[in-house]
């Protein structure tokens, strides 16, 4: 049984070394959340006959930015929503592969009492257990599996 203790001790030590001493050791998973009131701005583009520019490529450029702030596609109704994170002139460009292009800008100023930078609330972790506990559960499961495999092989 010595090997189990050795392997488990090494695993736990490695885990704590990675998760506590090295600051870069963080979860790589993703989580998402839908925010109802996030100061979103909505742009809409239509063709000259009133037909919406559906599923068209949209580029959002922030103030004094070289790279686009956001890229995506308009929805079925030609609508695209974005959440600016700073005041200034924001430009939204709709462009379809046929060469149709529409560009519109808006000057965004912070309202009175509002912060200059809009903060999106962090998403809560979708797991109820902390990361460290989940790692330990995984390591214990691997040890258990190894123990079962070793017992099984010994019998055969």
């Amino acid at each position: 049984m010595n090997w189990i203790i050795r392997v488990l001790a090494l695993s736990v030590f490695t885990h704590f070394l990675l998760c506590t001493i090295i600051p870069a050791a963080q979860a790589h998973g993703v989580r998402s959340r839908i925010i109802h009131d996030a100061h979103a701005w909505v742009a809409k583009a239509v063709f000259s006959d009133g037909t919406p520019m559906s599923y068209t490529q949209v580029t959002v450029v922030g103030p004094n930015a070289k790279l686009p702030f956001q890229k995506g596609f308009s929805d079925k109704n030609g609508i695209f929503a974005f959440v600016p994170d700073q005041p200034g002139k924001w430009t939204v460009i709709f462009q379809d592969p046929m060469g149709h292009r529409s560009q519109t800008s808006v000057m965004i100023t912070p309202r009175e009492g509002e912060e200059t930078r809009i903060k999106i609330p962090p998403s809560p972790d979708s797991y109820s257990l902390p990361l460290g506990i989940r790692v330990l559960i995984g390591l214990c499961f691997i040890m258990l599996l190894a123990l079962v495999a070793k017992t099984f092989q010994r019998r055969h």
Binding site: V7, S11, H15
Partner: protein, 204 residues
């Protein structure tokens, strides 16, 4: 590197699952009782390594260690990577359960290639500069080959995914460099300290 649920076509998922099933069966057949602690330890390392992320521009990637696993475990890397990925899917939401087969294949197949590339250079008395280079190439090359397999899996599953695949390939270059160093250092260290871990007694 972990492909999520609902992206790949059923044909790719089935092909990946079949390849993984074959790999696991070969791996379990070659698994000896004395190797189990070694496999368990490397499975643990693989499972935890995914938590170390390497920031790359606006994105990030994480360590995989499949090359190192392949060099040390050979075909036993298949069941080890399968268990590690299954736990990552359940506990960390990396990848998914339906993509477990293709994800395992994409990471374990390069590991097996690493095993065969490095084996001729590994000796109990050491491996020399060529062996060191072979281990580094296997460690880094496994990552790039896995990224290539992920890219191919995405490209074969639908239009518009090639660009994502290319991005995956590019962002893993720094990870490959790190893993090349880890593989060369670890194998060299183990050969000096415990050569029986790398070269089992039966093959000497």
């Amino acid at each position: 590197m972990h492909i999520s649920e609902g992206i790949l076509s059923p044909e790719i998922l089935l092909a990946g699952a079949a390849g993984t099933a074959i790999g696991i069966s070969i791996g379990l057949r070659s698994l000896e009782n004395k190797d189990i602690p070694k496999v368990a330890l490397l499975t643990s390392a693989f499972f935890v390594a995914s938590l170390i992320h390497v920031p790359i521009g606006p994105s990030s990637s994480h360590l995989v260690l499949n090359g190192l696993m392949g060099i040390i475990l050979g075909w036993e890397a298949f069941p080890a990577i399968f268990v590690g990925l299954a736990l990552q899917a359940v506990l960390f939401q990396f990848g998914g359960l339906t993509t477990l087969g293709i994800n395992t294949f994409n990471m374990a197949a390069p590991a097996i290639i690493s095993y065969y590339i490095t084996r001729p250079f590994l000796r109990r008395e050491g491996m020399g500069a060529v062996g060191l280079l072979a281990c580094a190439a296997a460690g880094g090359g496994s990552i790039m080959l896995s990224a290539l397999l992920v890219t191919l899996s995405l490209a074969m599953s639908g239009e518009g995914l090639e660009a994502i695949g290319r991005l995956i390939f590019v962002v893993h270059i720094p990870v490959a460099i790190i893993e090349a160093l880890i593989a060369a250092f670890t194998v060299n260290f183990l050969l000096r300290l415990r050569p029986d871990i790398i070269i089992p007694e039966k093959t000497v």
